[in-house]
Symmetry: C2
Subunit: 347 residues, 2 copies
Amino acid sequence: MKATVYHGARDVRLETVADPIVKEPTDAIVRVVRAAICGSDLWFYRGVTQWEPGDRTGHEFVGVVDAVGSDVRTVKPGDYVIAPFVSSDGTCEYCHAGLQTSCTHMSNWGDDANGGQAEAVRVPFADGTLVKMAPGMESDPAKLASALTLCDVMGTGHHGVVTADARRGGTVVVIGDGAVGLCGVLSASRVVGAERVIAVGHNAKRLELARAFGATHTFNSHDDGVAGEILELTQGGAHSVVEAVGNQESMELGLELARPGGTMSFVGVPHNVQNLPLRPLFVKNVSLHGALAPTRAYVETLMDYVMRDAIDPSRVFDLTLPLDRVAEGYQAMDERRAIKVVLENGL
Amino acid sequence: MKATVYHGARDVRLETVADPIVKEPTDAIVRVVRAAICGSDLWFYRGVTQWEPGDRTGHEFVGVVDAVGSDVRTVKPGDYVIAPFVSSDGTCEYCHAGLQTSCTHMSNWGDDANGGQAEAVRVPFADGTLVKMAPGMESDPAKLASALTLCDVMGTGHHGVVTADARRGGTVVVIGDGAVGLCGVLSASRVVGAERVIAVGHNAKRLELARAFGATHTFNSHDDGVAGEILELTQGGAHSVVEAVGNQESMELGLELARPGGTMSFVGVPHNVQNLPLRPLFVKNVSLHGALAPTRAYVETLMDYVMRDAIDPSRVFDLTLPLDRVAEGYQAMDERRAIKVVLENGL
């Protein structure tokens, strides 16, 4: 089959590799129909995190089950499925607590011979990991793309909102207008039902999408005095802040905008955060809540919102390419020409 | 009257100053009967935080009301009262939320002409700030000393436990065997009812008191392999960690000992924390919860525990001196000869 392979900074290639096979009785083989490129893929793509040449890439994919091991009960060949960005056994303490990213059998895609930007993937612990799509989801292109966001970005944005203690009728600030931040806006507005959703970004087009996703206020972080304006608007800060960037400036801004007694979640993978200022946390009794989203915990709920047309997270994809043009997709995201790329392989 | 005045590093003196008077109709004048020296007083005493010569010291005191302004309703002359370590109006959004340290009228003792290590104090917003002692509390020496802990250390330890999401039957790690850490152990064990309370310190005598306060396990942080032992004991970390030291090592240890999905509170005033490691927060979905304790919110509840003999936080005091020997008290704490000093002035 074909799979995307990392060769070095800004060098990924679709290559012929061995077909995946069922190794464990709990495995499933999934033929990928849609895969995505994630903002976090840019860390290795740009050489910021060190990967080994030969590593497979991609941790967001949906597809159709091709084969299952003898112990698999919940999915069968022909089922359309959503694969969260890590596998999980579904039976351990952490899975029961809805914290599948800490599953005792958790494994990542994308950092070994098992990436999602490929024609097929071996999925460990298929019963714990995979979720069957709602009937008909695969045949509606927008809903199929929305299903793909449930692997990571929509679930991650939602996790940020939930762990920021966002409440119906409340105020939520979302910092970051990447796909995760935009999905956070969508969750805060349409899932949780916050009354005021304040999006902070620096890209006019993305902030426009934030408005469409339910942001009541948008701010360009490059403008002067943004923090002061938001503090005035909220009369002292927001109860819930979702930090969806992961750098020093965004963390500092988020802590500044958190109301006393409030919560800031940070769902952007932290990079180059040199020194988190503890004083605002201390003095204001603000909680800081990480982070690595157990998207598996949210798939069913969010899929229901998608099927009821209550949310349409597929709109974060603004570039669609066939799988064999994956390298172009990385370039477009690296150069910020695209928010998020979807790769098609069949259907 | 006499009051303690800061003159420079390791130089505090009891001096004659002007008597406090009712300035605002919401003021009360409290004649101090017991005051304490706090671990956090050592920061200015040692010159780590910069104070101005002439500043008054002390933020923990209990006493008897001497005079009240015309608007004061809840206390009257002759009442014995507990003064939390900040004043609060009792009427704002934050006071209603039990976050009196963020009160819009909050003011500190000890950093202006109004310190608690003195014969008397002017208390702003007396109705919001002061709590009348339970009947007879003032006439029982141990309970009177316990009342003094409710100003700060017992309330702060309890706040750490509550904000670490400690639960009846659960596991709590308390890092630090100073007065706040010890009070955290007492709260976790006797107020919240945690089943396993693991105290980490480095002073054998204090860890013995931690045992008396209900610690089921004690560890000396200077021993090798403590983190590994606690991770083994807890099979992967504690749901609740209370960090009651405030330095780089204790914060790192706390984050290491937090279980995935758990919470670490930090109630030690952070000093010299150069770089909080975000990765364990991110990967383990651990919450970090500050911190500055609204002890006013807990006075009534904890006083009830004291009066029922369910807790005896007065045991954190291991040196009693008359107020005029306040300088000796600071020396004893600076040299770690005392955990915590109580200063007597009458009764």
